[in-house]
Symmetry: C2
Subunit: 193 residues, 2 copies
């Protein structure tokens, strides 16, 4: 399935639009490819687009004072990535977004998105539903971090991200669940036993 077909299928999970509308929607998107380790976005710059992953995989993360990486999201194919904080409040972001595989994307800029909302208000619905789901998951993540041990968080991670877990390094998983690679390694060892 090509990128355009993928994104149209994604949209059709939530709203139904005619062939003409589909064509119009696609015309607003801009495709772009990145190779492994290339940045889609850097800390300090304003994020002014929604990026849909058609193939590959991307991570968003921030670097703390010590230079340690903390992964916020992992976006595989059929997923959107954005630095919401930067996008929504139109301020410089503190996230990096980086390809962890060679990846191809479709980009919807803020302006094009507004245009889309004007021409096809159903897309308000599409993004509303999308965001409500993402928000729910994010809330869950907050409560998980607040109330679970690292081991329990890892359990959940394995269940929820079974499909992509295999393609991630231990360092990345460790960062996502919020522990150091060293500790994560020990955790695994303890579990194996």
């Amino acid at each position: 399935m090509d990128g355009q077909a993928l994104i149209l299928r994604n949209v059709s999970n939530y709203i139904s639009i005619t062939g003409e509308e589909q064509a119009y929607f696609l015309s607003l998107l801009q495709s772009r490819n990145y190779h492994r380790k290339e940045y889609l976005q850097r800390e300090g710059s304003n994020c002014n687009n929604f990026t849909f992953i058609t193939t590959g995989c991307v991570k968003s993360y921030l670097l703390d004072q010590k230079g340690d990486e903390h992964i916020l999201t992992i976006a595989p194919a059929d997923w959107w990535v954005v630095d919401y904080m930067s996008f929504v409040f139109e301020q410089p972001g503190n996230l990096f977004i980086e390809a962890i595989d060679n990846t191809s994307t479709l980009i919807l800029t803020k302006e094009k998105r507004e245009e889309l909302f004007r021409k096809l208000p159903q897309f308000e619905r599409y993004f509303r539903i999308l965001t409500e789901r993402a928000f729910a998951v994010s809330q869950q993540r907050v409560t998980d971090i607040l109330s679970l041990t690292a081991a329990a968080r890892f359990e959940k991670f394995q269940q929820r991200y079974a499909h992509i877990a295999a393609s991630l390094t231990q360092q990345q998983i460790a960062s996502f669940i919020g522990v150091t690679p060293a500790f994560f390694s020990r955790m695994l060892k303890a579990k194996r036993k």
Copy 2:
């Protein structure tokens, strides 16, 4: 300002609707009052409504295995509360929502909200924007928990929630930033010095 005026003003921050539409919107809401410590929602039940706080204040939290409370959100007047995870995925929630002051609310059930979307699709936009903002803040909270010390999180909390901080107990603030009351007390002491 009464509750209806408050919610209409809130809506008008994001979309503009006619007087007639306002009346219709209001007709879908159901008002209800709670006294301090009363539950709006309990763990295990399905959350099937959005609740707008018109006066007072509410917290949502979960209890972990040990029975310790972890506050997820604090919603003052002019704010919505929902257990998104339960609402969006239509599953039993694991949050309690409890009034921390006497509070009055306007309730929009899931069905009424769907009806609202059918009759006045602009409300898709209203909820989209609302959720995008809330999501951005939630993402920020995740990165804060992952990358900052308790003291730094408290700093941020003070800035962001200056207006309500005064009306919260230390226990509540401690739980919100993710530390125990005992540790929080020591933290304050260290700062005062």
